[in-house]
Amino acid sequence: MNFWNKIDTLDRRWVYLLVAISVILPFILPVKLPVYITPETQQLYDAVESLPDSSIVMLTFDYYPSTIAETEPMSRVALHHLFRKNIRIVTVTTVPLGGPSMAEQVTREMAEQYGKVYGVDFVNLGYKANYVAVLKGMGSSIEAIYPTDNLSTPLSELPLMNEVKNYDDIDFIYVVADNGIVDYWISIVNALYGTPVGCGVTAVMAPKFYAFVSAGQMTGLLGGMKGAAEYELLLGQPARATTGMDAQSLMHLLIIGLVLMGNIGYFAGRRQKGKKA
């Protein structure tokens, strides 16, 4: 049995071991490979940067805990940027499992860093079921959809919400999502109400939305952990996404190597069988 035959019948657990080494090694011996800024990330950054002081942004936490490796760094960079620019934030989520609590935890943690006050500088509206009705309903009245915030405080008792009645009072919508809800932020909110929408989505979803960016329906796009890392660099605050980029690059090299080896092994085996026949 030659080398290529062995590769063809290799126990998959050796591949898992190689994957584990490729992911763990860069955390022990960081290489700090360069990360380049894509035009879509730059566009989203510029859109937020151009918002005037005290603008109001709706930030969504439309993701499940299973994707926080990609999405939470996006929420953090968004909050950094918005709080740093003194922009007021209304957070919502259309995802029941984890969304409301993650919004609460991450937003309050970041607000504390910037000395922001709940109810004045930011509000967490939490979760409401039936996202299509929620997205459409907020176009008429946010209070009709969310009579109270995530902690059951009536919106009339929150000074920020006295200024925010519907999408007309929101300057920008910053969607961070891991599911098909992004389509509805575009097709309902952007298309019907004209509010600009910028998105951070998981890498699996990203290719679909490039068409929306080039069509002008979406103002900028962050694709997966790489997108979050780019935004961290633009902010000058490298964090978890940036440190994960070494492992990401090494893993991609390993996968390319494995795909090449697998194909060479397959064709070598086929050639050998042909010779025997």
């Binding site: 657990r13 898992y16 994957v19 992911v23 763990i24 955390f27 022990i28 299973s66 994707t67 926080i68 490796a69 990609e70 029941p96 499992l97 979760y127 409401k128 079921a129 299509v132 459409k136 389509d183 509805y184 575009i186 097709s187 309902i188 952007n190 298309a191 019907l192 998981t202 890498a203 699996v204 990203a206 290719p207 679909k208 068409a211 080039s214 069509a215 002008g216 329906q217 694709g223 997966g224 952990m225 790489k226 978890r240 440190t243 994960g244 492992a247 990401q248 893993m251 991609h252 996968i255």
Partner: protein
């Protein structure tokens, strides 16, 4: 770090490692953690839907003293009608509620999909092939137009793909394959990111806390 925080950190690390243990071999610890996750999710959803739908969106607005929305009893009854599916003899009643859901959903989606997705995307495909932004923009516009037309022709099944139609459909396949490749590459990147996230937690948060 408080005692509770340390406990949660160790529990999280144990659950992560228990799930990863499946990569070596199927084992009872993996199955236990999997079952705990399924049970917790089911319990969480029941509690959440009870609070956010039955109580907050139906019962409280219907029964409040100030401006009660009494008409909410109609969707409430529609909701109850769905449960008739449990009794085959009366399951036809649930179709009335389903018809309402399907009709209203179709109406909403028809407008939003057409107005929000189909028309704007079509409009942005109608590009000037000679672009004032320069040679690169013109080249990209030509690629977009060829890609859209050839892919649409690939999905045109009313005439056999022969001659000019066949060649164009083949070009369409190439565009589709390139698109699949991009999607697959991004999917791999996404899955790798999730693994990195867990490893980052184990190394930086869990081991880092020792």
């Amino acid at each position: 770090m408080s005692g509770m925080e340390i406990f949660v950190l160790w529990l999280e690390a144990f659950i992560t490692l228990a799930i990863f243990s499946f990569l070596y071999k199927d084992n009872p610890v993996y199955h236990m953690v999997e079952s705990v996750f399924a049970g917790l999710s089911a319990g969480y959803y029941i509690g959440l839907y009870w609070k956010s739908i039955i109580l907050q969106q139906l019962w409280e607005p219907m029964t409040r003293a100030d401006n009660p929305k009494w008409w909410l009893f109609i969707p409430g009854i529609f909701g109850l009608m769905m449960f008739t599916r449990l009794w085959p003899k009366y399951s036809w009643i649930s179709r009335i509620a389903l018809a309402f859901v399907m009709g209203s959903t179709a109406g909403v989606f028809l407008i939003t999909q057409l107005h929000g997705l189909v028309l704007p995307q079509m409009q942005k495909t109608m590009l000037p092939l000679v672009n004032s932004k320069g040679l690169e923009a013109s080249f990209l516009a030509v690629i977009v137009v060829i890609g859209v037309i050839s892919t649409l022709i690939y999905f045109y099944f009313s005439k056999e793909h022969k001659g000019f139609l066949g060649v164009t459909a083949k070009v369409g396949i190439w565009f589709i394959m390139i698109s699949f490749g991009a999607h697959f590459g991004y999917t791999v990147m996404g899955r790798v990111s999730l693994l990195i996230g867990r490893v980052q937690f184990l190394i930086e948060d869990w081991i880092g806390s020792f």
